[in-house]
Symmetry: C2
Subunit: 194 residues, 2 copies
DNA sequence: GTCTATACACAGATAGAC
DNA sequence: GTCTATCTGTGTATAGAC
């Protein structure tokens, strides 16, 4: 019961975070969305930052689960696995379920950097991706001139690429077309491949 | 005198906007930074949104000036001009002078969409870039399979790429190295070019 | 653990004297 | 146009009853 309630809270937070971002999201909204009183929220999570952290942990756990998923074993090349992960993240974002943290925000950033569960999840995902990046560079599928961490940061950034939302809002493309195009700009670049 | 004062205000707003973003920036901070009282600020600009809009207009005017600059005439290929513009924008961001607007923020977005000067500047820059994109696609320098507007949005997004700030904060690379790497991920993609 | 009611802080905006 | 002082709304967080 308690776990279910907290899962519902995190779910609401996740959606609101994706929709409005951390600053614009208010705890009142979260409470209203969950259907409980604000004070009750604070019995589960001691602060707004903890709410956001819980949402981030959940999405990172989902990512880790996806990295370990069976479907990944069907992809022998690390480069293909990286593309698949990026595609998964972009789909999550288009579904309105990718929590958006303001790039640089003092109080939230500070809270996250001291949040053990968040750091642990982030580390796990990053390490797995880091291995794949190095492997893909050895295979000749990812540009070996780029430092692996640059590739890693770029993948994280593209998972939240605002271009996805902009293209979706034009209503000119299906979600899959949007994902394909942004994936293309990410891995193949804007320049023509000859 | 009045123009100089307002220029100083916009300059402060620009820097604070780049540093903290719209939500985290407070009007009190702006006033303190400029060195005048908050009430005086409101004699020049009627709202916080107008302050942000003024900063956006300025950066767009700078961009337009750069597009018309002599140095651009030395680049016969549109693809090279696009790369040069992206480089310019990335340098601006690394210098801490690229105002960061939260991707989706109701009040600010609504205000900007009704701000004539902002829309006019944005349109001018976009039209010029749009021409170059089509030209570069004809030249075979930009992937002709991507709709021009997708390329345009991607360029705008990369001009504010958070990866720049992350890489700078690691202090492992010079500013020019950071720019070169992010430019490479933008135009050449993460995948290896064979 | 859930609620109602409230404390507290702060930020955007304004009043009004000079 | 600049200032000091203030209004007002709103958002985070808490008190205390049940």
């Amino acid at each position: 019961m308690l776990k279910a309630r907290e899962a519902a809270i995190v779910s609401s937070v996740n959606r609101l975070l994706a929709e409005k971002g951390f600053d614009a999201m208010t705890v009142d909204e979260v409470a209203a969305d969950v259907g409980i009183a604000k004070a009750s929220l604070y019995k589960h999570f001691p602060s707004k930052e903890e709410l956001a952290a819980a949402a981030m942990v959940r999405v990172l756990e989902n990512a880790r689960a996806y990295l370990d998923d069976e479907s990944m074993r069907d992809l022998p090349r690390a480069g293909d696995r990286l593309r698949a992960v990026a595609r998964w993240a972009m789909r999550v974002q288009l579904a309105g379920e990718m929590p958006a943290l303001p790039a640089q925000h003092s109080t939230l950033r500070a809270a996250l950097l001291q949040h053990r569960a968040y750091l642990a999840s982030l580390m796990q995902v990053s390490e797995r991706l880091g291995e794949w990046i190095v492997e893909a560079q050895r295979d000749g599928d990812v540009n070996p001139q780029l430092p692996p961490e640059v590739v890693l940061y770029t993948l994280y950034a593209r998972a939240c690429d605002p271009v996805l939302g902009v293209l979706k809002s034009t209503q000119q493309y299906t979600d899959e077309q949007v994902v394909d195009m942004v994936l293309s700009t990410c891995f193949d670049g804007l320049a023509a491949r000859r």
